[in-house]
């Protein structure tokens, strides 16, 4: 059974990484381990003009750092991500591949002028982590608004979906897990 590797991409607190371990382990029903042994240089992904970080570059360097890993790799950071043509992304993944990244940055209510809400922040992070990992399991966006694979372009979209897969997406993940084991 392929495992999930959680990799901190500083700046990010260890607490944040740890909070993802159990939810991911139970949702994917697979071992989830933290690997803080490498230091990924986030500056390589910085776009000085936009003051944001290119998540595609982070994906590529993650893949380079773990060439042999059998399972999935999720990098977690606290900086603002973008991909070239879009103003921002919450995360990015390699479709049907091995690597994914998510950021806490835009999930924080205080950036929307709202009171701090650590619990909601955490729920959003879990959903985005599951969503991006879902793409690495070959899943496309799902029409079911309740399903974690439903496309979310705003935090409000994230809030209405659950942190888990609909039955069809869930079957697709299981097929993928078994095909690899």
């Amino acid at each position: 059974m392929p495992s999930i590797l959680l990799v901190p991409i500083p700046p990010v607190t260890m607490e944040r990484i740890t909070s993802l371990r159990l939810p991911l382990q139970s949702i994917f029903d697979t071992d989830t381990v933290i690997d803080a042994s490498i230091h990924l240089d986030i500056i390589a992904a910085l776009d000085m003009y936009r003051n944001q970080y290119n998540s595609s570059i982070l994906l590529a360097s993650l893949k380079e750092r773990f060439p042999q890993h059998e399972g999935k790799i999720l990098g977690v950071s606290e900086v603002d991500f973008f991909v070239p043509v879009l103003t921002y992304v919450f995360g990015e993944a390699q479709l049907n591949g091995t690597v994914a990244v998510v950021s806490v940055y835009r999930l924080d209510d205080t950036l929307y002028g709202l009171p701090e809400n650590p619990r909601r922040l955490n729920e959003r992070l879990v959903k985005e982590a599951v969503h991006e990992l879902g793409h690495t399991f070959g899943l496309y966006h799902c029409l079911d608004y309740d399903c974690v694979m439903h496309s979310s372009t705003t935090v409000e979209d994230i809030d209405i979906k659950r942190d888990n897969f609909c039955p069809a997406c869930s079957r697709a993940v299981k097929r993928h897990l078994h095909a690899r084991s």
């Binding site: 936009r50 595609s56 973008f82 991909v83 070239p84 043509v85 879009l86 103003t87 921002y88 992304v89 479709l95 835009r106 205080t110 950036l111 929307y112 002028g113 709202l114 009171p115 650590p118 619990r119 793409h135 899943l139 496309y140 966006h141 799902c142 029409l143 079911d144 608004y145 309740d146 399903c147 694979m149 496309s151 372009t153 705003t154 935090v155 409000e156 979209d157 209405i160 659950r162 609909c166 039955p167 069809a168 997406c169 697709a172």
Partner: protein, 451 residues
């Protein structure tokens, strides 16, 4: 269902920059589109033979033939393709020109992903694929939510019947009943049986949102609308587009909010706080209250016109003590739920424990019953819940503190919940619906100590 549509919608991306082609291709592939890209006019024209393309995203500024020029050729080859122009901020003027030539719309680089996704969806619908999408949604037949059980007493059968009746219409529904009686479950049942079920139901507890934030909660706000608002926020009415908005505790909203609500109900339009853009949303309203709205109307604290707008079809949920026949069914339903979530082999409720459950008055209704079962599950020794696991004999009914300030009541309530759950912080926080840090803070603030 897993994203691949029955007939995949297709997008052709024409842009000379490889990063733009790559990131847009990837983005739309994840959305289940068939995607291809071209780096210039010549390649784009060649790719037209691999069409039809539902949508063509076209960069205005390219070396060689410009996007504006190419637009005409593409339109000649396939007039059914919807063209969306991509432009750098500097060339908005040519984008406007493109619109005159028949482009559907334009976006400026870098593109707001939420805007792009809505634009593309709108374009697809524009192409009369709306029907196909609707059919597609019909295929989502699997129920992803666990069936909510409400009871099978004659009173509740009547409630369900009414819910199903009103679900067939698009009428505003009002659900009334005591706190904890399951008004939201009925709202969800109405939504789930309505034609809007493939769009979300968005719940707002009007009583739980501070007055200063309610406007932004309902209508959203633009970036910079107030201090700290670095980003735009979508409001609940915008999120409910196509679906249902459930306004709980409607009786608590201020007169100012009532005016705004009345306007949005009448026009189905609103603007975000701090913004001018008029947003249209197609929603159905279900509201709920445990207040005496009629008295509030008489007292002048609830607008009469809004009252009549909302009070079109009313469903009353009887309190649990008036439908004791439902208690065993509900208790077993919660038992099963917690057996699974706690992974504990407590599979039954002993007859004498069940008897106590049935005889109790349930001032907190179904929610209280659920909490009692959850707590009993923590205490119970397998295989069943026994009278000792129930809190009734231990806790005197309603011991209201002499000091009736909010702080005193909160302190007493927290103390009560902590005692009830043996000072299990995680559990108590869950029941109180606050996070653990907040609970620790409150324990410290009120100087509560574990016995």
């Amino acid at each position: 269902m897993n994203g691949k549509p029955v007939r995949q919608n297709s997008i052709l991306i024409v842009d000379d920059e490889i990063v733009v082609r790559d990131s847009l291709s990837k983005w739309f592939k994840q959305d289940g589109y068939r995607v291809d890209s071209a780096e210039d006019a010549a390649h784009a024209l060649k790719k037209m033979s691999c069409g039809p393309w539902d949508i063509i995203l076209l960069d205005i500024k390219m070396p060689g033939m410009s996007g504006l020029e190419l637009q005409k050729h593409l339109h000649e080859i396939d007039s059914a393709s919807t063209i969306i122009m991509i432009t750098a901020f500097a060339s908005v003027e040519s984008a406007v020109q493109a619109l005159k030539e028949g482009a559907f719309d334009y976006v400026t680089k870098p593109v707001d992903p939420d805007h792009l996704s809505h634009l593309v969806q709108k374009a697809i619908q524009h192409k009369k694929l709306a029907d196909e999408n609707a059919q597609l949604r019909q295929h989502i037949t699997e129920i992803t939510r666990g069936e909510d059980i409400v009871g099978n007493s004659p009173q509740m059968k009547k409630v369900i019947e009414l819910a199903k009746t009103v679900a067939q219409t698009d009428t505003t529904a009002m659900i009334r009943g005591e706190s904890g009686s399951g008004k939201e479950i009925i709202a969800r049942a109405i939504h789930a049986n309505s034609a809007r079920r493939y769009f979300p139901i968005i719940a707002v507890n009007c009583g739980a949102v501070p007055e200063t934030l309610l406007e932004s909660e309902l209508f959203g706000h633009e970036k910079g609308a107030f201090t700290g608002a670095q980003f735009r926020r979508k409001g609940k009415f915008e999120m409910a587009d196509g679906g249902t908005i459930f306004l709980d505790e409607i009786g608590t909203i201020s007169v100012k909010m009532q005016v705004q609500l009345l306007r949005v109900i009448e026009t189905k339009q609103f603007t975000r706080v701090g913004g001018n853009e008029v947003i249209a949303s197609d929603f159905r309203i279900i509201c709920a209250t445990n207040h005496d709205l009629e008295a509030a109307v008489k007292a002048g604290t609830f607008r009469e016109d809004l009252y009549y707008r909302l009070n079109v079809f009313t469903i009353f949920i009887p309190p649990l003590r008036e439908r004791k026949a439902d208690i065993p069914l509900l208790a077993r339903h919660f038992l099963t739920r917690y057996t699974i979530s706690m992974n504990k082999p407590v599979k039954d409720i002993s007859p004498d424990a069940m008897d106590m459950l049935v005889r109790y008055d349930w001032p907190g209704n179904v929610r209280e019953l659920e909490n009692v079962i959850e707590r009993a599950m923590v205490l119970a020794a397998p295989p069943s819940i026994r009278p000792d696991d129930l809190p009734f004999q231990l806790i005197p009914k309603h011991h209201a503190p002499a000091d009736e300030s909010i702080d005193a009541v909160e302190k007493a309530h927290i103390e009560h919940v902590l005692a009830k759950y043996g000072w299990n912080i995680t559990h108590s926080a869950h029941v109180l619906d606050i996070d653990r840090v907040t609970l620790y803070n409150k324990i410290a603030r009120y100087g509560l100590v574990k016995p």
